[in-house]
């Protein structure tokens, strides 16, 4: 394993290289005379970054959009993860349920959110829960897939050791299945977190309630107004949030679980 400092430098250098290449492409108009609209310079993006928060869109700062979205995102993410856990858990206890749920996961994961929108609206009405539902839809299936497959492929002996001491059903799940699949679960969390973001953005792009506008709407507006620099600046915000979660939260969990237990290198 590398030491932390070296790793940090490597990552910083890579990002720097990316930024430099971007800047060259932008400044030299490598892709034609109008390409600065697609490749704005770093300076433009940096200004857009500030403007996003200071001016925002429709008189509302990007903060507000982020807050609106984060609320829905987190609700959707937690519900999605929670439901994935519940259903995957029931699947482990009940083989019939497993067969059905496994099929359901394979099927539902294929369905694009857009196509579900009319059904969702008719059931939930015009409500922020529509967005939450679409976020759940993008999180629950991949997360369940990780859980279902994880539950099936850790060493059988842990289950036996668990049953040995009287664990059954629910207690076996929390006592053995969950800790034994922590690696799968964390991997699923990383994917689920990314899914939730993408689900949120695309949901907010196809369905938006103006009274609580979200980051997807913001991006959409900036796109419509050809403010690509603002779009990239917003993506950077998303990336920063994403990286904080990845390295601040998930990595810390990893360090205190699978790494500490010697279950991951």
């Amino acid at each position: 394993m590398m030491n932390r400092k070296k790793a940090l430098i490597a990552k910083a250098l890579f990002l720097l290289a990316f930024v430099i290449i971007w800047e060259i492409v932008a400044k030299r108009n490598v892709f034609g005379s109008n390409s600065q609209i697609v490749f704005p310079t770093i300076e433009t993006i940096a200004k857009a970054f500030v403007r996003n928060f200071k001016v925002g869109y429709a008189g509302i700062s990007l903060w507000k959009y982020i807050l609106n979205s984060m609320e829905l995102l987190l609700i959707g993410l937690f519900l999605g993860i929670f439901l994935a856990f519940v259903f995957s858990a029931i699947s482990m206890i009940n083989p019939t349920f497993y067969e059905i749920y496994n099929m359901l996961v394979s099927i539902c994961d294929l369905l694009p959110g857009v196509a579900l929108l009319p059904v969702v609206i008719i059931i939930f009405g015009i409500h922020r829960s529509v967005i939450v539902f679409l976020v759940i839809h993008s999180v629950i299936w991949p997360m369940s897939r990780n859980l279902l497959d994880g539950f099936h492929s850790f060493p059988q002996i842990y289950i036996e050791a668990g049953m040995n001491i009287g664990l059954r059903g629910k207690s076996l799940l929390t006592g053995v299945y969950l800790p034994a699949t922590t690696a799968y679960i964390l991997s699923g969390l990383k994917v689920g977190w990314a899914r939730a973001w993408r689900g949120l953005l695309s949901a907010e792009m196809i369905f938006g309630i103006a009274s609580s506008p979200g980051i997807g709407l913001f991006i959409n507006q900036m796109r419509t107004n050809l403010n690509n620099a603002e779009v990239y600046a917003t993506l950077i915000v998303i990336i920063i949030i994403g990286v904080i979660v990845q390295y601040g939260i998930i990595d810390t969990i990893e360090k205190h679980t699978i790494k500490k237990w010697g279950m991951s290198k």
Binding site: I121, I209, A210, R223
Partner: protein, 309 residues
């Protein structure tokens, strides 16, 4: 062998290639006619004797097309007047080369108690329309302004969703109002349970420009190619205006209608190469924060051949 390759290359250079981005729908009927009948290729051949190869690219929004043009990969495209003016004011090197159509817009309500905009302002009743900042939103703002309200008075009431979803939401009662365009407005007119809020239709009728064609200045500088482009649209729009049944037969499949219905719908729109209200709309947008303020004349919006205002 080498010689063969060379001749192959030569014949290739004679075939001109351009990429045109388009969207689907009734309002784009002339585009479909040009595309399906190969009108542009034909016009180019008539003018120069050379082949033209058009790569038709379907994109889902004016914003995407604008980016495509910015990238230099798209030479011409068709979009609502909103994104077109946004693009020009952003300094994209294109202008309008033809008007395409004007369409009917209207706002329908499923509540008889809502008869005018005044019944909505200050309430929490939701209005479905296709997107915030979309042409439908601007028309709503214009209607508000013309009736003495603040242009943004109903902004918070908007729920953004696509036309079919909006229609389903209106009919199922999930929203109170739906501001939409043809053909959805026709369906909603046919529904006896829905009531129209007239101010919207009055603010921007089908006689006004709605969809335009834009071409890059580069394309414009290739005189023959540009001519072919313009000619083909004159021909397509003529066909709709003079032989609606033939036009309908060409486009009905794309819009999922029978030929008769399609012909009826086509006749309810206004297909013309001449713009109407383009600059007026731009000024309204500039005055009400729908786009940047930097265009001061009609001629900045259109190429010289385009007539109208």
């Amino acid at each position: 062998n080498e010689a063969k390759e060379e001749t192959a290359e030569e014949t290739k250079t004679e075939t001109k290639k351009i990429a045109i981005a388009y969207q689907y729908g009734l309002a784009y009927a002339p585009v479909i006619i040009v595309k399906e009948k190969g009108l542009m290729e034909e016009a180019y051949k008539n003018l120069t004797g050379n082949e033209l190869q058009v790569e038709w690219v379907q994109m889902s929004s004016g914003a995407d097309i604008n980016n495509g043009i910015a990238s230099g990969e798209i030479d011409a495209g068709f979009m609502g007047i909103g994104p077109a003016m946004t693009g020009i004011s952003k300094g994209l090197n294109y202008k309008v080369f033809t008007n395409i159509s004007g369409q009917e817009h209207g706002m329908m309500s499923n509540d008889a108690a809502i008869a005018s905009l005044g019944d909505l302002v200050g309430t929490e009743n939701q209005i479905a329309l296709v997107n915030i900042g979309s042409i439908q939103h601007i028309i709503l703002a214009k209607a508000l302004a013309e009736n003495g309200y603040d242009a943004h008075a109903l902004d918070a009431n908007i729920v953004a969703m696509k036309h079919p979803d909006g229609m389903a939401s209106l009919e199922s009662g999930a929203v109170k109002c739906h501001l939409t365009s043809s053909p959805y407005i026709f369906y909603e007119h046919d529904n006896a349970n829905l009531y129209e809020i007239k101010e919207v239709h009055e603010a921007w009728g089908q006689d006004k420009s709605f969809i335009v064609g834009i071409a890059s200045t580069e394309l414009n500088s290739d005189a023959e190619l540009y001519q072919a482009l313009c000619d083909s649209f004159v021909a397509a729009i003529d066909l709709i205006n003079n032989n609606v049944n033939e036009a309908a037969a060409l486009t009905c499949d794309f819009n999922g209608n029978t030929a008769e219905v399609e012909a009826d719908y086509l006749q309810r729109g206004v297909y013309s190469t001449e713009t109407n209200g383009l600059f007026e709309m731009l000024q309204f947008m500039q005055d009400n924060d729908f786009c940047d303020k930097n265009i001061t004349s009609y001629s900045e919006l259109v190429f010289d051949n385009v007539k109208g205002n």
